[in-house]
Symmetry: C2
Subunit: 267 residues, 2 copies
């Protein structure tokens, strides 16, 4: 707020042209620092350190209009990319091209982070601007030469990667396939970047049925019931999940009733 | 070899007692350096750098007799642990205590590496010496203060974590549940640290059937067929898999025949 007041004051007093170009940049930088400091990758760093980092690395600012592609699946990941403002869509396809999974990601967040290192350094998903978005990226080489100089950065980086390993490990260990209902939910939970938020699955009903080893009719029946419960919205060759977390909670409740009923049957 | 020759030579020429204690230590150190340099975490580092690292950090050497517990599930992971010699067994249990999965790991390898950072910094598995083993560990704090000074080490560390994320991501995306046979194999592939080597699954047939949503009879039939094919060995409440990779290859072949047969039926 302060910087905007000063800006208005100076604009009134002095030559306008100069301040119209220089001061907005300062405002943008201040907002960017604040946004970056909110991210887990920079958490714990002081403003001084962020200023030092930003002074040494080359930042690429980019604005994308809604609908334009930001990063494409299969392209090499050579940059540490931050989503500063807006919402993006991630589009991922299975290797047999049986289905397309769409997820939605809001700022602030990292984009394509898990493709920076390791054997697979190409993006798995295609990232498209869902609204107008602001992106800033840093060349990968600066990670080793500049960012790594800061203990907190190195620790954060390792914690983010380790958390991901642990989350995926949990997901893999949680897999069971007791019935059709859980298989539908698990199919999504296995593949989504984040186990919450809106998702869209583009798939033919017969392909979905084949993948989860059920008949087309029973999958269709189950999805219709989930639609009645307000957990999914069915369209032609598309299942929309308004919030995957609700579906996850539903599954947990369902499993409890399911195993309870089984016990009664077995008694 | 050279150092042993020098050792023998000096022992012949000089006071024996001194060399019996000092030189064997040097031989052990040389072997340890060689073993450490073979590991992905130190790959690319020169012997000079390893010597520098070893000079600055405190190494804990430990020998374990076959059968003794090295690290226990649930204990905090405060050390970077290397298996230098021998074979260990990893024992992991699901949260409902329905089954125990045993895996076997040979030297040289990292032990409990993915519990060092992130939110879950306690060991997931219990590690027991399967043969007599040599272990060396480094306090976690030295990672940030000493090991991280080496670019190659930081890069290796990040590559190992990123590889793991990518491997798990692949596993999660590969999940399909078209039929009983694949569910049995996928159940194991999801949970094993390494997708190859000997595994032992301690589970009651009725629990296995419930987890994968099939009848006890059909699971039992399928496992008996796999035993005839030499892919599993059945014991009371235990399924041994001599090599998970063979079972994985079998599954891939099975899926090809399965989808081919389905196409014929659909035509």
């Amino acid at each position: 707020m302060n910087i905007i007041k000063i800006y208005q004051y100076i604009c009134n007093e002095l030559e306008l042209d100069y301040f119209i170009t220089v001061i907005p940049k300062m405002v943008v930088m201040e907002t960017m620092y604040e946004t970056l400091l909110k991210m887990p990758l920079f958490q714990g760093l002081g403003e001084d350190e962020i200023t030092k980092i930003v002074g040494k690395v080359k930042l690429h600012f980019q604005k994308y209009k809604a609908g334009s592609v930001i990063l494409r699946s299969g392209d090499p990941c050579n940059e540490l990319t931050f989503l500063l403002k807006g919402e993006i869509m991630l589009e991922s396809t299975d290797k047999d091209n049986n289905f397309v999974l769409k997820e939605f990601q809001s700022a602030p967040d990292l984009v394509g982070f898990y493709s920076l290192f390791g054997i697979k350094t190409c993006y798995f998903s295609t990232y498209t601007a869902e609204t107008d978005v602001d992106i800033v990226s840093i060349d990968k080489s600066f990670i080793l030469t500049e960012l790594d100089k800061h203990d907190i950065f190195r620790l954060n980086f390792r914690n983010i990667l380790s958390n991901r390993v642990q989350q995926y490990h949990d997901r893999l260990w949680q897999f069971t396939y007791p019935c059709l209902e859980t298989k539908i939910v698990d199919f999504l939970l296995a593949r989504c970047e984040k186990p919450y938020g809106k998702k869209q699955l583009k798939i033919k009903m017969e392909d979905f049925a084949a993948i989860i080893g059920e008949t087309r009719l029973s999958v269709s029946k189950c999805l219709n019931q989930l639609e009645k419960d307000g957990l999914v919205i069915l369209r032609r060759t598309e299942v929309e999940i308004p919030d995957l977390n609700l579906l996850k909670l539903w599954k947990e409740k369902f499993l409890m009733t399911f195993s309870h009923n089984k016990e009664i049957v077995n008694e």
